[in-house]
């Protein structure tokens, strides 16, 4: 029954005390700042209640960058602890908590929102739509994600962080071995965020299937839209499994059932089974949209149409299909018979085939292209060799028998960082540099961008390359220290130095965002990169209705075709018609808050209070059911005024692309 009050706040650790003070000061600062600037109304009207896909996207990206920072600090703390043998910087418990939150936050609260954020901003524009299929549901998705992320993040100051690894394997994650409430946070916060993600998946599937503009057939869609669509399909296919797994974990921990416990007939490995049934497809959910971004960037800056468009589409679909059939390779060492391990070894290796097809397509896109080395393109170029290292070590790990050697060593850790950092983080950076003008009406500084790039890529390789060798030497993952006799010290130190360089790179990005927001030229055209797809056919930043007249598509790379044939680039006054747009709503925000409260009560096992709070959730659903607000119409005059503003000014691209 419940949790004792003296467990409520975590006390006694100077690092956490510092964070607590910092959090309180930041909160006070934000509230005071908004009040001083009289921005509360603006915040509510323009952001908290918005249903505009671009603003929701920006909020996702902002949260993602913040969470990337939090996860990055976790990473740096781990690196500091392992920089020398027998370090006393963190104790074992604290180290456990930090590698757990690092993993969860980086995958679910950094990679996911950064990708979903860019999907939100770009996909409707690329298919020539005015919003997503269900704008209010989209806002709800965001607020549920945000609610889950915040709930998870307060764990380290209120009640204690989860400490059973981001995979939360049973029996360790069960009540018996982890009696505190830390792992309740894991079960509940991820559940809330996961519901939001599932709705995003449904939303984007319908958006892509139903809202493409005239002439935009499926096989003319930009590659980023394709990959986002397929990622959404994988979301809908795999997140329900995670929903169930987390619910069962909650039941086991809070209501005493026996799904994964050893007593009562439960099976601990059933958790691993369900977790990876979701977890492996999750890897492709984050990596596919990233592939799409690279496709856009490489095509734009090679001045060539994407090579092998059709094979690209088929390989994405192939990856999506295979992604659901490989999950056991994460626990080959469970000791299943040779039949099971062989089958899953083979399906895993098969994934290398469509991925290889994509690699060659990117290389051939660049062949004989006029390559422009913008920052976005640099990320794409660095991605290829780095990701191949990740992929090849992946095939090594895919061999069931050999995996007994690599399993649970730093070799594995190095492998998946070589997959996820080039595959996701590089892509997000490329996407941010590429689409930044679309979101904010100014570019990110290219010079600082290159500093960011070089520090980050060099730092990344220096951090994780040594881990391959450490792992092969037998250094295990998730171990908070090692002895001097092990001989690991030099490589561990090298890795720490790399992490610092990597962090400087991230700092350069933050500075770049600040610098560009203050000093960058606003006088840029709608199409500063001379790009190929429809998002560049409209203003930068994009007006709230996206397109005054929905474009008509006649070819792949629709905007390129329009530019070459000088079609549909201008807008006559008589072509302007009233536009119907959805209204803002405070309900999604409310739902985020009430889900957060319910989740918090459940984390603390105050079951009755949590039950009472669910009434608030039901109330929100009922209000939504009776809500007949049908949106509003934008007047012709307003559209004409907005369109003139961005179309008439003589905006140039000079001095932007060096």
């Amino acid at each position: 029954m419940g949790i004792n009050w003296h467990d409520f706040f975590i006390v006694g650790n100077p690092l956490i005390l510092g964070s607590q003070i910092a959090i309180v000061l930041t909160m006070v600062g934000i509230v005071a700042g908004i009040t001083y600037l009289k921005k509360w109304k603006w915040l509510w009207r323009e952001w908290l209640t918005t249903v505009d896909h671009k603003r929701i996207g920006i909020m996702y990206i902002l949260s993602g960058v913040l969470m990337f920072f939090r996860g990055g600090v976790d990473g740096l703390l781990m690196k500091a602890q392992t920089s020398r043998p027998e370090m006393k910087f963190l104790d074992a418990q604290h180290y456990n908590e930090i590698f757990t939150t690092h993993g969860v936050i980086m995958i679910l609260f950094a990679a996911m929102p950064l990708l979903i954020g860019l999907m939100n901003v770009v996909v409707p524009l690329q298919i020539g739509a005015r919003d997503v299929a269900f704008p209010q549901l989209n806002a709800l998705s965001f607020w549920l994600f945000f609610s889950g992320a915040m709930l998870f993040n307060i764990s380290f100051v209120v009640g204690g962080s989860p400490d059973a690894g981001w995979t939360a394997y049973f029996p360790l994650a069960g009540k018996e071995f982890t009696p505190g409430i830390g792992n309740n946070y894991y079960a509940v916060a991820l559940q809330i965020a996961g519901i939001g993600t599932l709705m995003t998946g449904i939303n984007f599937i319908v958006t892509v299937l139903k809202m493409r503009t005239k002439g935009m057939t499926l096989m003319r869609m930009p590659m980023f839209t394709w990959t986002s669509f397929i990622a959404s399909v994988i979301i809908v296919a795999s997140f329900p499994i995670f929903t169930v797994a987390l619910a069962l974990m909650t039941f086991d921990r809070i209501f005493g059932t026996h799904f994964f416990t050893i007593s009562g007939g439960g099976m601990d490995m059933m958790w691993a089974n369900l977790f990876w049934l979701w977890g492996h497809p999750e890897v492709y959910i984050v990596v596919l949209p990233a592939f799409g971004m690279f496709s856009e960037v490489i095509s734009t800056f090679s001045r060539k149409r994407l090579f092998g468009y059709n094979s690209m589409v088929f390989s994405i679909v192939g990856i999506a299909f295979l992604s659901m059939l490989v999950w056991v390779h994460h626990f080959f060492t469970m000791g299943a018979g040779p039949g099971v391990n062989s089958v899953f070894s083979i399906t895993t290796m098969m994934i290398a085939i469509p991925t290889g097809v994509k690699m060659f397509n990117w290389l051939f896109t660049m062949r004989k292209g006029r390559i422009e080395l913008t920052t976005a393109m640099l990320w794409a170029l660095a991605f290829i060799p780095c990701f191949v290292i990740g992929g090849v070590t992946g095939v090594m790990l895919a061999m069931g028998a050999a995996d007994y050697q690599y399993h649970n060593t730093l070799f594995l850790v190095a492998h998946f960082h070589y997959v996820l950092i080039p595959g996701v983080v590089f892509a997000v950076f490329a996407g941010l540099y590429y689409w930044w003008p679309k979101m904010f009406g100014h570019m990110l500084n290219e010079k600082i961008g290159k500093i960011h790039f070089w520090f980050f890529t060099i730092g990344f390789n220096l951090t994780f390359m040594p881990m391959f060798f450490l792992g092969l030497d037998g250094a295990v993952r998730r171990s908070y220290t090692y002895s001097a006799e092990s001989g690991y010290a030099p490589l561990f130190l090298l890795s720490t130095i790399g992490a610092v360089i990597l962090a400087i790179g991230f700092g350069a990005l933050c500075y770049n965002i600040y610098w560009s927001a203050r000093y960058a030229d606003r006088n840029i055209s709608n199409d500063p990169w001379d790009a190929r797809t429809l998002e560049w056919a409209t203003a930068s930043p994009v007006q709230f209705y996206n397109f005054a007249k929905l474009p008509e598509v006649k070819s792949i790379d629709a905007f390129w075709y329009m530019k070459k044939h000088n079609e549909g680039l201008t807008l006559k006054d008589e072509e302007v018609e009233e536009i119907h747009m959805p209204s803002n709503s405070g309900l999604p925000f409310y739902m985020g808050v009430i889900f957060g409260i319910t989740g918090f009560l459940l984390v603390f096992e105050w079951k009755l209070a949590a039950l009472v709070a669910t009434v608030g959730i039901l109330a929100g659903l009922i209000i939504r059911s009776f809500d007949y607000n049908d949106g509003f119409h934008v007047h012709k005059d307003e559209i004409k005024k907005t369109e003139k503003a961005w179309r008439s000014v003589n905006k140039g691209v000079n001095n932007h692309v060096s």
Binding site: M267, L274, L277, M324, A336, V340
Partner: protein, 97 residues
């Protein structure tokens, strides 16, 4: 997707009768026969799939509307993933024995 059909809802009644027949058939096979367990499981499992298809086509009109094809593919894919999850879990959790 007829809009104004008049008269008697024939397909619904047929669907209902068939689902009752299938349900009692499954009950009969399970309770009244002494077939081996595996055989019973296959028979009643097939009857369940048939009945589910009946609901999807005769009551839910899965393939109607301009998105009929997407809807059928979607349900088929969902069913495929569900089968992978069930069969895969049973197999893997038996450790392949």
């Amino acid at each position: 997707m007829e809009k104004n059909h008049k008269g008697f809802p024939v397909t619904h009644v047929i669907g209902f009768i068939m689902s009752l027949v299938l349900t009692f058939a499954a009950l009969g096979v399970a309770i009244k026969t002494s077939l081996p367990f595996k055989t019973i499981l296959w028979i009643i499992g097939s009857l369940a799939v048939v009945q589910a298809g009946l609901q999807l086509y005769m009551f839910m009109h899965m393939n109607e509307g301009e998105d009929g094809k997407s809807q059928v593919i979607n349900v088929a894919y969902g069913f495929f993933i569900a089968v992978v999850t069930v069969a895969g879990s049973i197999w893997v959790m038996s450790f392949g024995m």
